[in-house]
């Protein structure tokens, strides 16, 4: 069995679609691209594709993954360059969802859901001054509990998200607005160039960008949004960007109404600490191809 693992982005207006919407979108795109996907043999045959962690509706990402089982009778032993299939399906995807890289993975490998243990997020937090934010992040890392209110099965429950919070650091102030997340490595360059259009129309029709989305060096309001880079574990239970904002507001004792104005998942990690690696790192060759296509 041949398994194609794809890394893709979800940016722009499409971020308002749900995880289920994205799954349907992929199923249709795979059929349109006539990718020989393996189907289940049950009463209702389903394409054998599996997604990694759900991305909260409203968040963007340059690190989404899915695994697609490819019908071996269609490909034979010569599986070929994974990019051949990946680029075909990329053309069938809606604007805002883009294939960044693709690799063949072994059928016996653990699923994305099992393997991924943490994610890196860039989050724009507003509702407080920069010094207050630095203070609250320090407090958050030093505290043993971070309580948030969650809705679970139509009931409000209290949860501690502190175990999920691996690290939280304030970002470079030049990153304050979403339009300039750029840095030196390839991922961020890609991220930066794509985010430049995400405030307007994803079709790139030159719409004016919204408030808070300015060019590098533009004045940022005193209340943010301020960029924060956090690493959040997926087990036993993860945390959403909005919940981090809620927890910080709680830490301030109600002095700040903290909001996550924007959030981008920039990486998912397999394994912890120094051995952590991405399911597909964009520094590899496919990323350069992605870069060429994005420009």
């Amino acid at each position: 069995m041949a398994r194609l693992r794809i890394r893709f982005s979800k940016l722009g207006k499409l971020r308002w679609t749900s995880h289920r919407d994205i799954a349907r979108m992929w199923e249709r795109a795979l059929r349109r691209a006539q990718i020989p996907v393996e189907y289940s043999h049950g009463f209702t045959p389903r394409p054998r594709i599996s997604f990694g962690l759900a991305l909260p509706t409203g968040s963007e990402s340059v690190a989404e993954y899915l695994d697609i089982e490819i019908d071996p009778s269609a490909t034979g032993d010569a599986m070929g360059d994974p990019w051949d299939l990946a680029s075909r399906v990329d053309e069938a995807l809606p604007v805002g969802v883009k294939v960044l890289a693709a690799v063949w993975s072994k059928a016996g490998d653990p699923s994305l859901q099992e393997a991924v243990c943490s994610c890196t997020w860039k989050i724009g937090l507003s509702g407080l001054e920069h010094t207050e934010l630095e203070d609250l992040l320090g407090k958050a890392m030093a505290s043993s509990h971070l309580v948030v209110i969650r809705e679970r099965k139509a009931r409000q429950v209290q949860d501690d998200i502190r175990p999920a919070l691996i690290s939280a650091v304030g970002g470079d102030l030049r990153d304050a607005s979403r339009g300039d997340l750029g840095a030196a490595d390839a991922t961020s360059v890609w991220l930066g160039s794509s985010c430049a259009v995400s405030g307007g129309d994803p079709r790139g029709s030159g719409q004016p960008l919204g408030d808070g989305v300015g060019s590098i060096g533009a004045a940022v309001p005193k209340s943010g949004p301020w960029p924060v880079t956090v690493e959040i574990a997926t087990r036993p239970r993860g945390a959403r960007p909005a919940e981090l904002a809620q927890a910080l507001a709680g830490l301030s004792g109600g002095a700040c109404v903290v909001r996550a104005e924007w959030s981008v998942r920039t990486a998912q990690w397999i394994g912890g600490g120094a051995s952590a690696r991405e399911p597909i790192a964009l520094a590899a060759a496919p990323a350069l191809r992605a870069l060429e296509r994005a420009s």
């Binding site: 207006k13 499409l14 679609t17 199923e27 045959p45 809606p94 129309d201 719409q207 919204g210 408030d211």
Partner: protein
Amino acid sequence: MEMHSLWPRIESLLAGVSKPARYIGCEEGAQLPLHSPESISWLLVYPDAYEIGLPNQGLQILYEILNEHPFAVAERAYAPWIDMEALMRAEGLPLFSLENHYSAASFDVLAFNLSAELTYTNVLNLIDLSGIPVRSGERCGELPLVVAGGHCAFNPEPLADFIDLFVLGDGEEPVVEITECLLYARQSRLSRQETLISLAGIEGVYVPSLYEVVYRRDGLIESVRPNIAGVRERVEKRTVADLAEWPYPKHQLVPLTEVVHDRMNVEVFRGCTRGCRFCQAGMITRPVRERPVAQVRQMVSEGLARTGYDEVALTSLSSADFSGIEQSIGDIIGDPMCSGQVSVSLPSLRVDAFTVGIASEIQKVRRTGLTFAPDGGTWRMRQVINKLISEDDLFGAVEAAFSQGWRRIKLYFLIGLPTEQDEDVIAIAELAKSCVEIGLRYHRNPTVTASVGGFVPKPHTPFQWFGQNSADELRRKVGILLGAVKGVRQLTLRWHDPEASLAEGIASRGDRRVGAVLEHVWRHGGTFQEWSERFELKRWTDAMQAVGLSVEDVVYRERSQDEVLPWDHLSSGLHRDFLWGEWQDALVGAGQPDCRWTPCYDCGVCTGYGLEHVVASALPPAGGSQGTLQVLPSPPPTRIPLHIAPPSHRVLVSEVSAKGQG
């Protein structure tokens, strides 16, 4: 008006609303038209939630036709859900288009699709949300023209005070003519009133402000006549003569988020002459116009390749009646693009074993449930409504379904039909129980669901004169049914809220005075009345009282032959005498066969408009008795002789001797 994108302001609200993907556009097939001062801009609005409105084929057809026109652009809008509307109003954000996110008021035309009467209050709400005066008399100058079309436009009077012009019948041609008339009006610098008069010259266009309704002292209508010279006394509907010339939609919209009927749709024919007397769609869309099989094949195959859907629906009012049904299904199943993974659905099944045979062929993959609509519980009742399905047909169909693997059968019935007795109601339960028994012969645990709707008489049908059952009476009949199905575990009864049927009755056959009722309901928070959790009858009865109208007069009263009906100045092509004759035949249970395969009885449409049925086969479909092979209880009246053209790839069956006569 200056056009700029409202997107940044819209997006700032999305984190706080349910299903934000409703507001982003970006669907596959969506266009991003470039507006210019030289073109006429249309905003096509479906007055219900995105997930209900997006699949609407009528809207999608006009969207493409207008965007293909060199001097027209079209975008879409749907009713923002209650949570979004509240935020929009708080932020001062108007209704917006989904493509460019422009303000609704910046378009030249706001065009509403009227598919259901209970959406009328949403129409008012959306005009208001656009920042436009709700009443057409208060609009002036540059404000958009408010247009409406769709099946409900055949009695537009309840909306007459709010809509500038209505389009009756098929919209494909009128939207282009309206665009061209508006271009002319702009060049000639016509005033709003002059423009409306000029538009009223287009066939099928009804400008209600140019007509005056005179009432008698007893409250009935004396007359509805033009209030200025040169406006036609009677507006005739528009009909596309040949569907083959209109292969739309060519780029069906594929939504990014969940909607109803989320599948590829291909309209295989328009119009229906089964002649069910309760059915407004079957009366106002005559004659039958089939799409050529080859075109169906092409639309399906291109559509599937482009959209990536794994389900295609062959749509029409009764798709098993399509001459090319078997071939079309064979084409789809044999298409390499489908490679065994595509399922075909026929939204409205005919009740017979033959049809089930077709269904079993196409639902090899997902054999979940089948729905049949006998509509009436007894043969007598079915004769009254001219739905001539015998019990043998029904049981044969149900047997075929259960024996071929289906476990769930859904039956659809109407209660509150003319001449209905309690025994007709009880018979619904008996039929359903018999179906359970058939099911038990094949499965340990079959399921039969009987869905019961309260009948609402509709304009331009033989039942337009009938006094609707009261909500209490419908409730009583539901009670009878509940008692009669008790104890049968495999049988589920579902029924439509009788109170919603009452409100629908007010909006369906009301005259211009009902406009004030709609406005009252809307101003008191009555939007999304199609949604049971949003519907409250009290808003409607309070409004009727406030306006001084009685439910008895508008809904429950039987109309007499000489009464001027609010829609008598609007024509669906049917002779009033034909409808009255059918009403009288109904009362004595006399049937009427399908004129596609039997001689013409001159309902008025083909003869009046110089049209013909466009059907590829002059023979009725095999296996079905409904309106074709059954022995009718009374001898048919004298007919005009039938002329059948020589067989060819595509045959026109014509009832009158030559096109253009009459």
